[in-house]
C-alpha cells in the first residue's frame, strides 16, 4: 500500500475533532480523490500524513513506514503540493527547487539536473532567477507542483491544485499528473471540482465531518447514493440535493 491510514483521530486543543477515526487505503500506482466540503477534514488528513499536524491517535503508514515513529523514511516518500501558495519570498524559482531537494538530502549534481528538468517541464526556465513573490498566481502554482515533485516522491499529494487557475493551466496540470501517474506515481488529490475527480481518479472517497462516508469509483458512488452522477452523490452527501442540476428548469438551464 502507498498510504494506509487506520483509525486516525485529530483533536485540536480547542476541542474541535477534525478527524474522527478515519481509515483509508491507497494502493501503489492509484490516482485517489478525496472529496468533501470545506472543513470536512481533507487538509487535516494531508497535514497528519506529511507531519504538518500531529495526530491524536491512529496510525499512518507511507509505503509501510510509520509516519510518526519513522517519519524520516515516510516523508521521503511523499511530495506535497499544498493548497496555499506557501513559497519562500527570499528565494528565486531555481533556489526554491534546489533548497527543497537539499531538505530531502539530494546531492548537488542530482539537484541541478532535476531542477533543470522540472523548470523545463513547467515552463519556468525563463523565470528561474526571479524571486518567487514576483511570479503570477499561475506560475506560483506550477512552482508549487514542481517543488513537490523535486525529490521524486512515489506518493504525490495534491491539495486543491487547480483552485483559482485558468483553464489552460488546469488542463496542463491534468495532463502532467496523469502522465506521472501512468509512470507509476501514486496520487492523492483533493479538489472541489467534481469533474476533475471524475476525469482523473481511479477511486474516490467522500469525507464529511471528519469521517470517510463512502469510497469507490465515480460510478459506484453514484450507485451507492442512488443518483445519476458523482455531483448528485456529493450533493446527497452534503444534504443539498435540491441543488441538483437535474432540478434546474429547462428554460433556466438553456
Amino acid at each position: 500500500m502507498a498510504l494506509q491510514i487506520t483509525d486516525l483521530v485529530k483533536r485540536y486543543p480547542t476541542g474541535t475533532e477534525a478527524l474522527r477515526g478515519v481509515s483509508l487505503s491507497i494502493a501503489e500506482g492509484e490516482f485517489f480523490g478525496l472529496l468533501g466540503p470545506n472543513g470536512a477534514g481533507k487538509s487535516t488528513l494531508i497535514h497528519c500524513t506529511t507531519g504538518l499536524a500531529q495526530p491524536t491517535s491512529g496510525s499512518i503508514r507511507v509505503f509501510g513506514h510509520d509516519a510518526i515513529d519513522h517519519y524520516e523514511q515516510a516523508r521521503l516518500g511523499v511530495g506535497l503540493a499544498p493548497q496555499d501558495l506557501n513559497l519562500d519570498w527570499f528565494l528565486t524559482v531555481e533556489e526554491t527547487l534546489d533548497y527543497h531537494g537539499g531538505y530531502f538530502g539530494m546531492p548537488r549534481k542530482d539537484r541541478r539536473e532535476r531542477t533543470g528538468e522540472l523548470l523545463e517541464a513547467f515552463s519556468l526556465t525563463d523565470k528561474k532567477d526571479e524571486r518567487t513573490r514576483t511570479l503570477s498566481g499561475g506560475m506560483k502554482r506550477r512552482l508549487i507542483l514542481a517543488r513537490a515533485l523535486m525529490h521524486r516522491p512515489p506518493l504525490l499529494i495534491l491539495d486543491e491544485p487547480t483552485a483559482g487557475v485558468d483553464v489552460e493551466l488546469r488542463l496542463e496540470l491534468w495532463h502532467y499528473v496523469q502522465r506521472i501517474n501512468q509512470e507509476g506515481t501514486t496520487i492523492l488529490l483533493t479538489t472541489h471540482y467534481l469533474e476533475e475527480a471524475e476525469q482523473l481518479c481511479d477511486k474516490i472517497a467522500f469525507i464529511n465531518g471528519g469521517e470517510i462516508v463512502a469510497t469507490g469509483t465515480s460510478g459506484e458512488l453514484a450507485a451507492r447514493f442512488g443518483v445519476a452522477s458523482l455531483e448528485d452523490a456529493y450533493l446527497e452527501l452534503v444534504g443539498r440535493k435540491e441543488l441538483s442540476r437535474g432540478l434546474i428548469p429547462d428554460e433556466v438551464a438553456s
Binding site: Q54, E72, L91, F104
Partner: protein, 255 residues
C-alpha cells in the same frame, strides 16, 4: 556527504542566504549602529572621561559593543526569520521534510548565530584599526562570545516560535532585551553605580556576559569568570532544552 548532512547544510544555507540577501539591513545597519555608539560614547563623550579602571573609555566600551552586536543580531535574525516563515507558511517545506526537530532547531539557531558572528567580527576588525584593543584571554573570550551568541540565537528562536505577530518580536526586543543589555553595563562599569542599582545589576544575566567578554579582551572583570562561564553554559543548555521540547512537540509550528 550523507543525506542527513546535505539536509542540515541546506537548512543552514537557507538561513544564511536570507540574511545575506538583505545584507544592507542585516549586516550594514548593525555595523553602522555600532560605529555610531563608538563615535558618540568613545570619541565625543569618552574625551571627557579620563580612564575607567585603567582603560581609555572607548576601549572599555568596545568589548560590550561587540558582545551586544552578536547578541542583538542573533536574536532578531532568528525571531524574524522564523516568524516570517510561519506567516508565509513557507516553513512547511522544512517541517514536512525528513529533518528531525534537532536538525531544524540547530539550523534555525545557526542563522542568527552566524549573522551575529559576522557583525561582531567586522566590528572587531574595524575597531582594531581605530583603537589599540588588546585580547588578553582568548581562551575565555572565544567560548564566552560563542555562548553569548548561542544563548541569544536560542532566545530568538524561542520568541520566533511563540510569536504570532511582528509586534511580539518587537516587544521582546525593545522592552526586555535592550534594557537588559544596556543596563548590564555595556557603557559603564557597574561598580560605579550607587546602591541599590549596583546590587540590582547583579541579577541581570547580561552583566555576567559583558564581564566575561570584557575579561577576554581587557583582562578586567567585576564578576567571577569561572562562575559566570558555568552559569552561562547552564543558561544556554536550559534554553536549548526548552526549544528542543517546542520543536519536538511542534508547539505553534505543527497543528
Amino acid at each position: 556527504m550523507s543525506r542527513r548532512q546535505i539536509r542540515f547544510l541546506t537548512l543552514v544555507r537557507r538561513e544564511v542566504s536570507r540574511f545575506l540577501k538583505i545584507k544592507r539591513q542585516t549586516v550594514g545597519a548593525p555595523l553602522l549602529e555600532t560605529f555610531l555608539y563608538i563615535s558618540v560614547f568613545g570619541a565625543a563623550l569618552g574625551s571627557r572621561i579620563n580612564t575607567l579602571h585603567g582603560f581609555k573609555y572607548v576601549v572599555f566600551v568596545i568589548p560590550g559593543l561587540i558582545m551586544m552586536a552578536w547578541a542583538i543580531n542573533a536574536f532578531s535574525n532568528n525571531a524574524s526569520s522564523i516568524l516570517q516563515q510561519k506567516f508565509q507558511r513557507s516553513i512547511d517545506d522544512q517541517l514536512s521534510s525528513p529533518a528531525s526537530p534537532t536538525e531544524l532547531l540547530f539550523a534555525f539557531s545557526l542563522g542568527g548565530f552566524l549573522r551575529g558572528m559576522v557583525v561582531s567580527l567586522l566590528t572587531f576588525i574595524a575597531a582594531s584599526f581605530l583603537v589599540d584593543l588588546p585580547v588578553d584571554h582568548v581562551l575565555v573570550l572565544i567560548p564566552a562570545l560563542f555562548l553569548v551568541g548561542f544563548f541569544f540565537a536560542q532566545l530568538g528562536v524561542l520568541i520566533g516560535v511563540r510569536a504570532e505577530q511582528f509586534d511580539d518580536v518587537a516587544v521582546a526586543q525593545t522592552f526586555v532585551l535592550q534594557p537588559l543589555i544596556f543596563l548590564g553595563g555595556v557603557f559603564y562599569s557597574a561598580s560605579l553605580l550607587p546602591q541599590p542599582f549596583q546590587t540590582l545589576t547583579h541579577f541581570n544575566p547580561v552583566y555576567y556576559m559583558i564581564n566575561l567578554v570584557r575579561y577576554g579582551f581587557l583582562g578586567y572583570t567585576e564578576a567571577n569568570v569561572a562562575l559566570s562561564l558555568g552559569l552561562l553554559t547552564a543558561a544556554v543548555l536550559a534554553l536549548y532544552a526548552v526549544n528542543h521540547r517546542l520543536f519536538a512537540t511542534g508547539y505553534k509550528l505543527r497543528a
